[in-house]
């Protein structure tokens, strides 16, 4: 009751209650509301400017944790890059030189990096550079991985070939290393039996009658039997254009068409054909050209080592 307000009506000098018409009330209410909204906006502006809204804070925090995730992934990526570096080193410095393959130029290895900007959709963000750098790194890794994969595939193929070649080419002495070397590959003024001047196309080993003769490389027997001047003779085709011939044998223990392995016992030496005494005639041909057999093996083994080698080479299986 005490809050009632009165005013003095000067016309009849009476105190009367203050009664506002509804219009005035509405105007007052509107003004009040407007002030309220204005103040709200003002506060919001000030608070958001100074502190950021709580929601913004939450979002910023989320971004920070995402960045952390990125940096963790960055470590993973760096690790992959390190491994790739290592593999490329291995590829270029170890395998390719050994297998006599050209190394991969760095222009191919780093192909496609830094080309046209393919990541337009990443422009215009606060962390654009972060995302871009990651995408670029991943792209680089993918390219390098692809190149490395192809490279290893090629190396693998070449390696198998290399291994095979090493097994097939005639690369050991056909008889025990203790035997004296006879005539080598040279022009003989006088053939010991025929007496005429002619080329000697192989290497002679002065072996006693019945010495064991081993295949000097893996391959296929294409001749085994009597061959006029060579007497009892074996020819092995090693592939890659190589053929080895063993002449003047007394006993042949392989037959035509048989696949032999390096170190397999193929015959016993003798003195058949045009020969003055027991010896082994050993000859290597490359695409029909006579080669000096001495260039194809080293006399760097002792007798014990030689037989250890024969045993090791034929350990698994003899003929195949």
């Amino acid at each position: 009751m005490s809050s009632r307000k009165y005013f003095l009506d000067l016309s009849d000098l009476q105190y009367k209650r203050v009664r506002l018409p509804w219009k005035n009330k509405l105007i007052r209410f509107t003004i009040g509301s407007l002030v309220c909204v204005a103040v709200t906006l003002l506060y919001t502006a000030i608070i958001n400017d100074m502190l950021g809204s709580p929601k913004e804070k939450v979002l910023s925090q989320e971004i920070e944790s995402l960045k952390l995730e990125y940096s963790l992934m960055g470590r993973e990526i760096d690790n992959s890059v390190r491994i790739l570096d290592d593999l490329e080193q291995s590829d270029g410095n170890r395998y390719r030189p050994i297998l006599d393959m050209d190394s991969i130029p760095s222009s191919i290895r780093n192909m496609g990096v830094g080309g046209i900007n393919r990541y337009d959709e990443l422009e215009g963000y606060d962390n654009s550079s972060l995302m871009l750098s990651f995408r670029a790194k991943v792209e680089e890794i993918r390219n390098r991985t692809t190149v490395q994969f192809e490279s290893f595939k090629a190396i693998e193929e070449r390696k198998n070939e290399w291994k095979r070649e090493m097994e097939y080419l005639p690369m050991i002495s056909p008889v025990n290393v203790i035997y004296r070397l006879g005539d080598g590959m040279k022009f003989r003024e006088k053939h010991p039996v025929l007496g005429t001047p002619q080329w000697h196309h192989g290497q002679d080993f002065s072996t006693p009658y019945g010495t064991k003769v081993y295949a000097t490389g893996s391959g296929k027997v294409i001749e085994a039997g009597w061959n006029s001047g060579y007497g009892n003779c074996i020819v092995i085709d090693h592939g890659y254009g190589y053929r080895s011939t063993y002449g003047h044998l007394s006993k042949i223990s392989v037959s035509v068409g048989l696949n032999v392995k390096r170190g397999d016992l193929i015959a016993l030496s003798g003195s058949t054909g045009t020969s003055t005494g027991p010896h082994l005639h050993y000859q290597i041909d490359l695409f029909g050209q006579h080669k000096n057999p001495l260039y194809y093996f080293n006399n760097d083994l002792t007798e014990d080592e030689y037989f250890e080698m024969i045993q090791t080479l034929t350990a698994q299986s003899k003929f195949r």
């Binding site: 009632r4 307000k5 009165y6 005013f7 003095l8 105190y15 002030v35 309220c36 103040v39 709200t40 506060y43 608070i47 950021g52 809204s53 913004e56 979002l59 910023s60 971004i63 995402l66 990125y70 992934m73 993973e76 990526i77 760096d78 992959s80 390190r82 790739l84 593999l87 080193q89 291995s90 590829d91 410095n93 170890r94 390719r96 030189p97 050994i98 006599d100 050209d102 190394s103 963000y125 606060d126 962390n127 995302m131 990651f134 995408r135 991943v138 991985t145 490395q148 994969f149 290893f152 390696k159 290399w162 090493m166 050991i172 260039y295 080293n298 083994l301 080698m309 090791t312 080479l313």
Partner: protein
């Protein structure tokens, strides 16, 4: 004054003028202020429930894109890592079949050189910072000690007037090898690639493409330059004096003639595949008073201690040689 307002006082039964004190005005405005702030907060909150501010929108967009990219990159990396793992296996297999020895694991291969994550294993503990610092300090000291001991060695050498000898002893790797990846086979019993039996390998093998430069490992005189289709193939022997001589075999071609004096680091020839060799490589031997010694003990000039350790590890593997 029609605006003057009155209040009925029931005690005195009279109408009193309403007068507001300063305090009352302050209180009222304070009430207004607080009221408006409360209303503002409520409105702000309600508004925030339904609408985002531009900044919030930008942030959300950012998060969305970051998450999208993260997932994309993560998936991609997952795939790539699988491929890389596969590549590592291939690498190991190739190593096994070509060199006939167990490969050094990738992590080990990286150890000591580059040193990016040398102290990785020390991270993640409460006192890891302290431990890492200590470890770093220790490493520094170790290096200093190494340098110190080296300089002492040198002093002693100088004191005994062995300057010439220092220059002459074959003490560098005769081929440039980054990260030591070119070392293929060391000194000692190695499987012969053709004979398949263990044979003394009297030197060290380095893999390198045909035509790679070969350096003289110490000052000396070219004792012999020999061409052969057997054994060592084209090879050079350098007489360093003081009982030392070094041999470089299977060369493609020569860059020096017999009798010439060479200095450490001079190019003497080029890597090849001549003589009894199954692949292009350099075969390097050191002889002391006519006896073959392990070259690995003579590469002290251009290697850091870590590299030296790594080299010894590589060279001590019993793989196969290449001649």
């Amino acid at each position: 004054m029609a605006n003057t307002k009155y209040k009925f006082n029931p005690d005195s039964l009279s109408f009193d003028k309403i007068r507001l004190g300063v305090k009352a005005i302050l209180l009222r405005s304070l009430a207004y202020l607080i009221g408006s702030i409360i209303i503002a907060a409520v409105l702000n909150f309600m508004f925030g429930l339904f609408f985002d501010s531009p900044r919030e929108k930008a942030l959300k967009r950012e998060i969305e894109q970051l998450t999208l990219q993260y997932n994309l990159i993560h998936r991609e990396m997952g795939n790539l890592e699988k491929v890389i793992d596969h590549l590592q296996e291939t690498d190991d297999n190739l190593y096994r079949t070509i060199f006939g020895a167990e490969p050094i694991q990738a992590t080990q291969r990286q150890a000591g050189i580059g040193g990016i994550n040398r102290y990785d294993d020390l991270e993640g503990f409460n006192n890891s910072k302290l431990v890492i610092e200590t470890a770093k300090e220790l490493d520094k000291i170790r290096k200093k000690v190494y340098v110190q001991s080296k300089s002492f060695d040198e002093l002693i050498m100088l004191a005994t007037e062995k300057e010439d000898m220092l220059r002459s002893i074959p003490a560098i790797i005769p081929i440039s090898t980054k990260d030591l990846t070119r070392i293929a086979s060391g000194f000692g019993l190695r499987i012969h690639p053709v004979y398949k039996i263990s044979k003394l390998h009297a030197g060290m093998d380095f893999t390198a493409p045909l035509g790679t430069e070969v350096y003289a490992s110490g000052d000396g005189t070219i004792e012999s330059v020999l061409s052969s289709k057997r054994g060592m193939g084209n090879y050079i022997v350098i007489n360093h004096g003081f009982g030392y001589s070094s041999l470089y075999a299977h060369l493609e071609s020569f860059n020096v003639k017999e009798g010439r004096k060479v200095k450490r680091g001079d190019i003497i020839g080029y890597v090849g595949n001549t003589g009894m060799s199954v692949a292009p490589h350099l075969h390097y031997e050191i002889k002391l008073n006519g006896v073959n010694v392990d070259p690995v003990n003579y590469f002290f000039n251009d290697l850091s201690p870590a590299e030296y350790e790594k080299m010894i590890e590589i060279a001590s593997k019993t793989g196969q040689s290449f001649d």
